[in-house]
């Protein structure tokens, strides 16, 4: 049994009383959590000792909602919010936001988008005016539409110069089942097909109060802020939200190998993925710790030790997870000089197999737990980080109570837990592999890897 000593509580906090418990609780600040009659969930975190305020609006309108052939419409819609409203041109929006020393952030995720503004609290009213205006009254003007469309078409081309992005786009398409919007990538054809009426329709369908969460953190008075939010967002009309394509991970599907030919490369990019437990799984914490040991722990991980520190085959190798409430993906990525492609690939697989077969040591697990125990609070330095952590966790079906017990839950995990989760999920044969490379230069090595399909890097990954 692990005994954690409660040695000292030395932090002076401006409000709250602490009890020293033999637990590692992360005490999140109190949240006023209410839902307006139109369905908009509002979370208010008042912290008056600060000089700043952060607004966030999470909308469930993302890649997961894009019809086949209309890839890009979610990002297009989010970008159009800044291009004009009923009362502001795009230039006025940019000037008004800059005038209060702020900026608008748009963070698209596979299943939602978070629109945010961080600003000095002396400008909170002006900030909320702009924030609500762009969210509720976008005008979708043609000049903004043309500019965003041009940007997105350029991005499609520029992404073809980024080898990691190429690998990732192909990897998604290989992993997700046919017809799943999450597997698909923006293409020239899909962007060109998007008209203003499509963007407007997407907005009207998904940008609804009952499909959104608003979070405000910083220097304000809760009652007054609630009034101001109600005044601005209270008349936002709710609507029925269409059901999404249901992602169904197949944990037993045999992995595929895809080679993406890009002439001229002096390195090959190796990308692997497979399904992992989702955030509602009872194995969530076990799996995250397993990933830390595999490749998530950077220089404390096995992959970095074997492929970089000992092998000298790469500058970077790592694994990371994309975890959602109904599916999860484990990703491994690296790049290596052409002549080491086969050796690096085999070494990665061998590390995976070794970990799955023999498991982790007590020592490795303790280090992983220690890292996570210390790192979680370090990730919450600013109010914006707190806001984003809360919102993304809610989307993974975690409550704030779950968040406060996160460290405890990690520290409950045993070596047996980690080893059994790896045996169950970490199977070398179910990894999909994408290699982006100059095919002619590495063909003999690819032939040793196994049967593969080959596509040109300019091709639509899902065609």
């Amino acid at each position: 049994m692990k005994i954690i000593k409660c040695a000292l509580i030395a932090v002076i906090f401006s409000f709250s009383v602490f009890a020293c418990a033999e637990q590692q609780i992360i005490n999140y600040p109190p949240v006023k959590d209410i839902t307006l009659p139109n369905g908009l969930r509002v979370m208010l975190i008042e912290q008056n000792q600060q000089e700043t305020i952060s607004y966030r609006m999470l909308v469930n309108a993302a890649r997961a909602d894009q019809p086949i052939g209309r890839e890009g419409i979610a990002d297009f819609t989010a970008s159009m919010l800044q291009e004009g409203t009923a009362t502001r041109t795009s230039g006025q929006i940019a000037d008004d936001i800059a005038a209060i020393g702020s900026g608008l952030s748009v963070s698209p995720q596979p299943k939602f988008v978070i629109i945010g503004m961080d600003l000095l609290s002396e400008f909170s009213g002006r900030g909320l005016d702009i924030f609500s205006d762009i969210l509720l009254h976008p005008s979708f003007p043609s000049d903004g539409y043309n500019r965003i469309k041009k940007d997105m078409l350029n991005s499609v081309q520029i992404n073809l110069t980024d080898n990691d992005t190429i690998a990732f786009n192909h990897g998604r398409c290989v992993l997700f089942e046919k017809g799943n919007p999450l597997g698909r990538t923006n293409t020239k054809k899909s962007i060109e097909s998007l008209k203003i009426k499509d963007i407007r329709k997407f907005y009207e369908t998904y940008y609804r109060p009952n499909n959104s969460i608003m979070l405000v953190i910083g220097n304000f008075e809760t009652g007054q802020m609630l009034q101001e939010i109600t005044a601005r967002f209270g008349s936002w009309q709710r609507a029925e939200i269409p059901a999404r394509f249901e992602t169904k991970p197949d944990f037993h599907a045999k992995g595929k190998i895809r080679v993406v030919d890009k002439p001229g490369m002096t390195q090959a990019v190796i990308y692997l993925n497979q399904w992992s437990p989702d955030s509602t799984s009872s194995r969530y914490y076990d799996y995250q710790l397993a990933n830390y040991v595999l490749g998530g722990g950077n220089f404390s991980s096995r992959l970095t030790y074997a492929v970089r520190s000992k092998g000298g085959m790469t500058y970077h190798i790592g694994s990371f997870t994309n975890i959602h409430s109904n599916y999860g993906v484990l990703n491994i990525t690296t790049s290596t000089r052409n002549q080491e492609l086969y050796n690096a690939y085999k070494l990665i697989l061998s590390e995976i197999q070794n970990l799955s077969d023999k498991g982790v040591s007590e020592d490795e697990l303790q280090k992983a737990q220690n890292y996570i125990s210390g790192a979680i609070p370090l990730q919450l330095e600013s109010p914006g980080q707190v806001a984003d952590k809360i919102l993304t966790s809610i989307m993974r079906d975690f409550t704030i109570n779950d968040l406060s017990k996160e460290v405890i839950n990690y520290n409950k995990v045993t070596v047996a837990d980690v080893n059994s989760v790896m045996r169950e999920y970490l199977k070398a044969e179910t990894f999909n592999t994408v290699v982006v490379c100059d095919f002619d230069k590495v063909k003999p090595q690819l032939d040793q890897i196994g049967a593969y399909e080959i596509v040109n890097y300019k091709a639509d990954p899902c065609k």
Partner: protein, 453 residues
């Protein structure tokens, strides 16, 4: 099996809140050890976290010919073991304490940084002191790390179009100058570094009198100084050569330079030379650049991308050293439009030379900078970086306190003077990048735009 004691978390209850903002009375404590190590400490108890940064006053401009890239390779070697810690143990111990660490190399400095729970300060100091004095260098480790650095070169330069552009720009603008290759160095030099080269570099530059130690976080300055004295006080100083004065000027480069790129459209760069971070015009230049190139409310972006639609993308970057700097205006545009793009930029600069910025722009820029400074203070790493930058690059840590005031004091006359000083035809060099793969439709569109716009 080596037993790793379970991390005892001293502070069990983290409250995500509290006084994030730096109070005015909080002051940086400066202390210099007898061996010359300068220590700057800022107490900030809003979170039980501490950031530790060691700024070595050595970078790629200190490398002799034949050793281009050794400062950066050395940054890697510093994680490969010292007398009391094994290879990569530095990373592992910091991670096991719940912290993160890394390093970077620039033209003028090499910085190592850690962010850990505050009660782990002594661990970090032990690790940093150990590798300052007892780094282990051997052939096997060097050979492995050499391969890692060469992979980094392939990844960041050979296989990245932006990295390739950066390499070409340096070669055009800084030919035969210590800034020519930058921290990433030269592949042929990296392939030939010896253990003796590394040892000499280490003995010369990794010394307490060639470093600044910055500590920011939930610590008591007097206690931290005691720890630093204990860990670093015994290290002997070395005879560090005075850095030769290096100047960058447009006379060192051709007026017009051309290369190719993997990017799908042409890229035009206008580069202007400045006097760097220690020059008295630095605050005015900062305000001016906010007005010209910062975001979608800036003058050049609005004109070039939004109004005339001559450019697909536009960005302005300022790369600053202590006594030199380069402002780069970079536009990606359709073929045949480079002259129009340049003219549009010059027209905007001429307007500023005539009338300066308007009152709204001044207010906007001041709010942007003030807001940025306040948000920065939530993060101990960023605070430590700004303090280190103020001391090492700008020359005085006290400038950390002057940031807002410096900006407030910038006048219209300053803006006009600085625009005339730097943004003139004698102080510019251009670099053009043409796509290697020609796109007929883009060329056609560019041709028509060049006629009708």
């Amino acid at each position: 099996m080596k037993l790793i004691p379970k991390l005892i978390i001293i502070v069990l209850l983290f409250f995500v809140s509290s006084d994030f903002v730096l109070a005015e009375q909080e002051k940086i404590v400066s202390h210099t050890l007898n061996n010359g190590l300068k220590v700057l400490i800022l107490e900030k108890d809003s979170m039980p976290v501490v950031s530790v940064q060691v700024w070595y006053h050595v970078g790629s401009i200190d490398e002799p010919n034949g050793l281009k890239g050794i400062a950066h390779l050395f940054e890697h070697m510093m994680f490969r073991g010292s007398k009391n810690f094994g290879p990569q143990e530095h990373f592992q111990l910091i991670n096991a304490a719940g912290g993160n660490c890394n390093a970077y190399t620039s033209d003028e400095r090499t910085v190592y940084y850690e962010r850990v729970p505050a009660d782990k300060l002594d661990l970090v100091l032990r690790l940093e002191a150990d590798r300052m004095v007892w780094l282990k260098l051997d052939q096997n480790v060097l050979d492995t790390e050499r391969q890692v650095v060469m992979e980094e070169y392939r990844m960041r330069v050979d296989n990245d179009p932006i990295g390739s552009i950066q390499r070409d720009v340096r070669m055009f603008l800084f030919a035969n100058n210590p800034f020519e290759f930058g921290p990433i160095g030269k592949m042929e030099d990296i392939a030939n570094f010896t253990v003796e080269d590394c040892q000499k570099f280490y003995n010369t530059y990794y010394a307490p009198n060639n470093a600044t130690l910055v500590i920011v976080g939930d610590v008591k300055a007097d206690e931290a100084i005691k720890m630093v004295e204990e860990r670093f006080g015994f290290i002997t100083p070395s005879n560090v050569p005075k850095r030769a004065s290096v100047s960058l000027s447009p006379e060192q480069a051709a007026a017009v330079n051309k290369s190719t790129t993997e990017l799908p459209v042409p890229v035009s760069l206008l580069t202007f030379y400045t006097a760097g971070a220690r020059d008295e015009d630095r605050p005015a230049l900062e305000v001016l650049l906010y007005g010209l190139v910062d975001g979608k409310s800036s003058r050049i972006w609005k004109t070039l991308v939004k109004d005339t639609k001559l450019a697909e993308y536009f960005t302005g970057e300022y790369i600053e050293g202590a006594d030199n700097g380069i402002v780069i205006f970079a536009a990606a545009h359709l073929p045949s439009l480079s002259k129009k793009v340049e003219k549009t930029i010059w027209d905007e600069l001429e307007k500023i030379k005539k009338s300066g910025l308007d009152d709204n722009e001044f207010e906007k820029i001041r709010n942007q900078i003030r807001s940025g400074n306040i948000f920065e203070k939530y993060h101990v790493n960023q605070l430590a970086s700004t303090i280190g930058y103020s001391e090492v690059v700008r020359g005085d840590y006290e400038l950390f306190y002057q940031q807002d005031k410096e900006i407030e004091n910038v006048t219209q006359e300053d803006i006009i003077r600085v625009t005339n000083r730097y943004f003139n035809r004698d102080n510019v060099r251009t670099v053009y990048f043409e796509p290697r793969e020609k796109n007929f439709l883009a060329s056609l569109a560019g041709f028509f735009k060049s006629i009708f716009k």
